[in-house]
């Protein structure tokens, strides 16, 4: 089934100097508090993080509910903001695919794909033999997912103690973590160019469409970076 050695190796990625636990924790604590204010029960809040486990999607869900959007609109808005998970999955799974591993592992563990787990896996996969990467990945996934669920509970329970300043402090942690991870990931010319162009074009495209800027900006930036990188031999 799942090799416990590699599972635990992946699971331990939440310890140490590169730990995503603080960043993940901070953002899901904020989500827990937000869901409570929206009128969710604690079970529903846990269920939400358990099933979705993608921060921007949960935020969009919360906003849509506040304005009373229809189910179709919620579906479309969430799909749009989480569509980045598609290129992320395609950029990760081929690295983990091995003919000796059962397919269900891939279809089940893709649920763990989120920014922090993805960045950690991309940073570490080369140290693991291909055959064992999926078990290592499931370890990372379960660890980060557990932190998210646990933090949702803390945020829900502690929400009455949060004032505006604390919520602002919690809100900056996640972007800072992502930015540092991304800067650390800029190891090849092609990737560095993708990151820099994406960070520039994303906000520029915002003036054309707030909803589509991430996908349009990301697609344009990534394609330009790919073409320039290929021409220059990566």
């Amino acid at each position: 089934m799942i090799s416990s050695k590699y599972f635990l190796k992946g699971f331990s990625a939440i310890k140490g100097v590169g730990s995503p636990a603080i960043a993940l924790g901070a953002s899901f604590i904020a989500i827990g508090a937000l869901l409570k204010n929206l009128g969710f029960t604690i079970q529903q809040s846990i269920f939400s993080t358990f099933l979705t486990y993608a921060l921007p999607g949960s935020l969009v869900m919360a906003e849509s509910m506040l304005i009373g959007a229809s189910l179709i609109n919620i579906f479309l808005a969430v799909w749009l903001v989480n569509a980045r998970l598609y290129p992320m999955t395609v950029a990760l799974m081929p690295l983990l695919m091995h003919r000796d591993q059962p397919r269900w592992k891939y279809y089940l563990s893709c649920h763990f794909i989120a920014v922090s787990s993805w960045l950690i896996m991309k940073d570490n996969y080369e140290n693991i033999e291909k055959e064992n990467r999926i078990d290592f990945w499931i370890g990372i996934g379960v660890a980060t997912w557990s932190v998210a669920i646990f933090s949702t509970i803390i945020g829900y329970v502690a929400s009455d103690f949060f004032n505006k300043d604390i919520l602002i402090g919690l809100a900056i942690i996640n972007p800072i973590y992502f930015i540092c991870m991304m800067v650390g990931a800029m190891k090849t010319f092609q990737i560095s160019l993708s990151v820099i162009l994406g960070a520039t074009l994303g906000p520029i495209f915002y003036f054309l469409s707030a909803e589509w800027c991430i996908l349009f900006g990301g697609f344009t930036a990534g394609t330009i970076a790919f073409l320039i990188g290929e021409k220059n031999g990566k």
Binding site: L51, V78, T89, Y206, G217, G218
Partner: protein, 107 residues
Amino acid sequence: MASNILIVIFVTSLATYLSRFLGVVSSEKIKETSKMFRWFNCLAYSTLAALIARIVIFPLGSLAEVDLSVRIFVVSLCIIIFFLTKKNLVYPTIFSAIILSLITSFV
């Protein structure tokens, strides 16, 4: 309302899982050495960068109450800390929350 919330949670998770699922389906046919894979790799990093830049520059929620110049200042400071601490991720993240809370409560 209770059943409503459950339906909304299901719809949200379905819309999220869809992209992950289709990603695995596509991955079955894409080799990690192919051009296609490199292209998607670029798309993944650029889309993430676009998302993060959007969160910092045009935030939703509580971050929107902080001035853009303050946000940029905190981000720049934290990147410097990240490099000074030999790419430690814990220091810049904790520092960012403390400094931003201090700035917003005293300024």
